[in-house]
Structure formats: structure tokens, C-alpha cells
Symmetry: C2
């Protein structure tokens, strides 16, 4: 659940979990020679509620199991993480909070909910408020999965294989850019044809023990994300203005569901002297995903890592 | 099936049918004061094979009905249209061939298959070869519909309502741009909320008598679109180079499945002095769709109409 190395007296670095779902999927950004070097920083990687490792529809006993699992909001994740960080680890400050995708949403939420704790933040390929178009995309995933034969209102015995494949194929169109596919960048991940990539990378990901009710719980969390809903704030803009952390906000140039203009809007409202720094290139949402099979020193990872190093070397916002 | 007005001795204007599927959906581009003025031009609007009006899975008797309907290629549509135009109407030349989306694909195919007939062409929001990313999107539609409860391998008694809704919701994310949703441009179409729009516009469209097997037939036509597969050519580039028609190629700035860079590539290979002219704005694929409820003189329609008028006033490419 957590990578714990280095002197625990230092402020921690919190790497929020994202929609790749499990803590080990974040290891691409952590290690010797990286900004998040465990020899230097106390790195914490919590798992999201609903991801199958934290409390989830698939591992919660009746009567809250499966489709009866309660709805989870971004603030629920952040408050659980806050308790972990303060009550278990006894930390008062976080040197850096960062995360990809839904992890970026949690990063924004941390900076709004606990401004006195977050010194720096680096949300990448994610947003403080789920955009309307993003909700349309999420609704399409939900519609396909819940309409599939065998889903049975979430009370399936065996997860509906074809519904999960449809879910994967919808994601395939959104997760990487048009140019990624045109340029056949999937070859860099070791695939030999487009269909090989869609089956191996996408279907393989969603058929690898994912539980549909878990997916729908996280999807619902994502759908409702909005720092403006934090108690004490009347709007997203007002919540963003309250941020004190030093921030580098990093959307990816061709991210199809978190387009750079949305984060430009967010930065224009943020306190703390936030900087917008777009990750260039064609990898779309997965510019920030450390896609399995990609070379560890690829341009996108190097770009994000450099920003994290720069932030950590610079002053705190609080 | 056809709008027939004006002196039949004039060269016809062929408006290829697109993935809005039915001839009357093209009327927004035709009329007094428009480039396609029936008082001046003999305007022909054929229906695509598989659209439920032309031969389709839904209206073909056994043994070729439903899922047994044969696969249709873009060339099948163009050859049927060629027979209509030459054998029924006795035309030797077409002053202009134009079309949206799959209609744009047919426009390219006309210019490649019958270069001696096509004087001018105006493909908008469509491509000469279905891009890999576009195929990923199409595969997601197919996966969701065929996985849905009640689809039953295409041998459904009643079309699967929830599968069609999922199909509609996937389309909803692709048909308009992220910025369209952010700016709530659906208000221009008379809707009062995002959900109202998705249900009314998208689900309404796909539940309005669409037959799943018909949708899959057209989807398969689209998936395989490539002028490079025309007999006599070895590649898409070679086929494009053979085009003689005067062309204005009009992708939409924020079309998510026919992005402008793809058409820039096509134009770079086209013969005939083709011009790339991007439709500006946030309406995405529906910049070229004459979306129901939109003001007739909206900026996108005016922009396309002006290009058609300019082409028709200028010289023929043959």
C-alpha cells in the first residue's frame, strides 16, 4: 500500500492513485535518480477506494457489497489519505502531492481541503472539476458495461466478459491520441498490430481481474469530481483561488478527455503562482501514465520527472 | 430518394449521403439562396446502402436479411450511384460531388473511381481512408452494441434498446468537441441541460427506428473505407494523386475522429490543385452536419456553403 523508505522525519511526498488503479502502477515515477527518490523522500502511494485493494464493492461484505457499495467522492479518498498521513505517519506537511488522472483530481482536492499541509503540487493529466465532455465519455463507459449481457444490474456471478471488452475498446479511443494511432506508437510498447495492441493492452488491462462494480464506483467518483463542492466554497473558481501550494499543472498536449485548455482555465483561477506546463507529444492521456512496456526514460516521463525535481528544489508555497 | 429540380440538361450536383443516414437530413445545405439552389442545379441525394431506405439488413428478404446481409464497401455505394447518374439520369459529368462524413469518403471515391466525370469536389468532415484511430472508435461502437443484452448475434426480435442507448452515448463523446460541451453549445439546439441533450439528441437519434444490423453494415463500410483499395491502385497516396477534380477539402477544426491533420495529409497527396480549408469553431464533427435545431444561417453552414459557391463559380478540373 505504501512505499516507505528514507527518513520519516522528512515531509512526505504523496503520490495519489489514479485510474490505472493499483499502487504498483505508479512505480515508473519513483526510484533512484528520479525526483521521487526513496533514498531522499518518504513516498506514500495510497490506493483509491473502489480499486479492489482498498475498500471496494468486490471486497466488502454484505449488505454493502457489489452494486450496494456506497458512492465514493474524491473528498472521501482525500480524507482517508489525510488520516493515514497524519494519524499513522504523524506528518504535518507534505513536500509534494502529485498524481495522474484521477490522482490529479485528488491532488487538487488535497490543496483545497488541506492548504496548510500541501507545500507543492503537481497534478498531471487531470482536472479539479470533471468537465462536461469528460462526463459524457464516462457515461458512455457506464452505459456499455451496464447494458452488456450478463451484467444483470451488477449482480453478476461471473463478470460479463464482453461488457468489459466493450469498456476497454471505448477507453482505447480516448486513452491515446489520434496521432498516436496514426504514427503506430503502440509499436514502442511491443505490439505488432493495431488489433494486437487493443486486445493485449486494453482488453488485457480490463479483463485482468477488474470487477465491473469496482470500475463503476471509481467512475462515479470521477464523474462527481469538483473541488468547488468542498464545504466552505461556493464555486470551483473560489476553491481554486484558495490554493496556496506551489504548483506546476501539467496537462498533455493531446489528452482527449483532459484537454490543455481546461487546465489553462484552472491555472487562471489558482492562487499560489501556479504554472501551466503542457506535456508535448502524441501520447495523449498516457503521456502521464507510464504505459507498461514503454522505455523508462521516455520523453514524457523525463518531462514530468524534471518538473517534480524543479518543484522539490524550489520554495514551499506555505 | 432524390431531389430533382431545375433543368436536367445541366450537370448534376451529387450530395453523397453520410452517417446521418437519410436523404432528408441533407436538406440544410440545399435551397434557394444556397450554392445548391435547385432552381439552378439538378441536385441528387442518394441514400447509402444499409441506411434502411436503400437495400439494408432490415429490408432485404431472407436469406440475406439481418446479420446475413453482405458486407458493403464504399465502392459499392459509388458504383450504384454511378449507375443511377449515368443510366437513369443520363448525365456524363457532375459539376460538384460533395458530402459530409461517410459522404466525404464517397466523394473521394467518386473522384478516384470516375475522374472523367467529377469536375469539382467538396468533401467535408471525412477522409479518403479511415484512420486507425477512427477504426478504434468504430470498433468500440460495434463492441458495445453486439455485447448488449438482447442483441443475440444480430438475430434479435426487438432491437436492444439499452445497446442502442450505449451506442448513442459513445457517439455523443465523439460527435462534438470538448469545447462544445464546455461552452454548452447544445443550448443553441434547444436543450436545457447536458442530460436533456444526450437523451434528446443522441439517444433520440439512435432509438428513432434505427436497426442495429443496419448500423453495423454502415459501420463496416466506414471501417474499410480506403480509396487506395480501388482496382488499379497500389496505395492511398497513388489513388489521391490520380484525382483531377478541383477540390476544397474541409475538415472541422475540432473534429475528433476526422482531425484536420489527416486531411492536410490527404491534400498533400492530391492531384488537381486541392485546397485545405479548415472549418473553424467548436462544433467538431457536426460543424458539417447541419445539426437539427441549429439556426439555418449558422457560421459553419455559411462557411461550407460559401466554399461550394466558390467552387461552382470556378473552373472545372476536367
Amino acid at each position: 500500500m505504501r512505499t516507505r523508505c528514507g527518513p520519516p522525519s522528512r515531509a512526505g511526498c504523496l503520490t495519489c492513485r489514479d485510474d490505472r488503479f493499483r499502487h504498483w502502477d505508479n512505480e515508473w515515477l519513483i526510484g533512484e535518480g528520479r525526483a521521487l527518490d526513496p533514498a531522499r523522500w518518504f513516498v506514500i502511494v495510497p490506493n483509491m477506494l473502489g480499486n479492489g485493494l482498498s475498500s471496494s464493492p468486490s471486497n466488502t461484505p454484505a449488505p454493502d457489497s457489489g452494486p450496494s457499495f456506497p458512492p465514493i467522492r474524491v473528498t472521501d479518498n482525500v480524507e482517508a489519505q489525510h488520516r493515514l498521513v497524519t494519524e499513522v505517519f504523524g506528518l504535518e506537511r507534505l513536500a509534494l502531492v502529485l498524481g495522474w488522472s484521477m490522482g490529479a483530481g485528488q491532488t487538487y482536492q488535497w490543496a483545497v481541503s488541506h492548504p496548510e499541509m500541501v507545500e507543492r503540487m503537481l497534478p498531471f493529466c487531470g482536472s479539479p472539476r470533471t468537465a462536461p465532455h469528460n462526463r459524457v465519455f464516462l457515461d458512455s463507459l457506464r452505459a456499455a458495461l451496464t447494458a452488456s449481457a450478463g451484467f444483470d444490474g451488477g449482480r453478476y456471478g461471473v463478470p460479463p466478459d464482453r461488457g468489459l471488452r466493450a469498456f476497454a475498446r471505448i477507453y482505447a479511443g480516448w486513452g491515446f491520441s489520434q496521432a498516436f494511432y496514426w504514427d503506430e506508437c503502440w509499436r514502442e510498447l511491443g505490439y505488432t498490430s493495431l488489433e494486437d495492441f487493443v486486445v493485449g493492452f486494453w482488453e488485457g488491462f480490463f479483463l485482468d481481474g477488474r470487477d465491473p462494480n469496482n470500475l463503476l464506483t471509481m467512475l462515479d467518483t470521477w464523474w462527481h469530481g469538483d473541488v468547488g463542492a468542498t464545504p466552505g466554497f461556493d464555486s470551483t473558481e473560489q476553491a481554486l483561488a484558495s490554493i496556496r501550494a506551489r504548483a506546476i499543472v501539467m496537462p498533455a498536449e493531446k489528452d482527449l478527455y483532459f484537454p490543455p485548455e481546461d487546465e489553462a482555465w484552472a491555472v487562471s483561477h489558482m492562487g499560489g503562482g501556479a504554472e501551466l506546463r503542457v506535456i508535448p507529444g502524441v501520447w495523449g492521456h498516457f503521456a502521464g501514465g507510464g504505459a507498461p512496456g514503454r522505455a523508462p526514460d521516455n520523453a514524457d516521463t523525463t518531462f514530468i520527472d524534471a518538473a517534480a525535481a524543479e518543484l522539490l528544489a524550489g520554495p514551499s508555497g506555505i
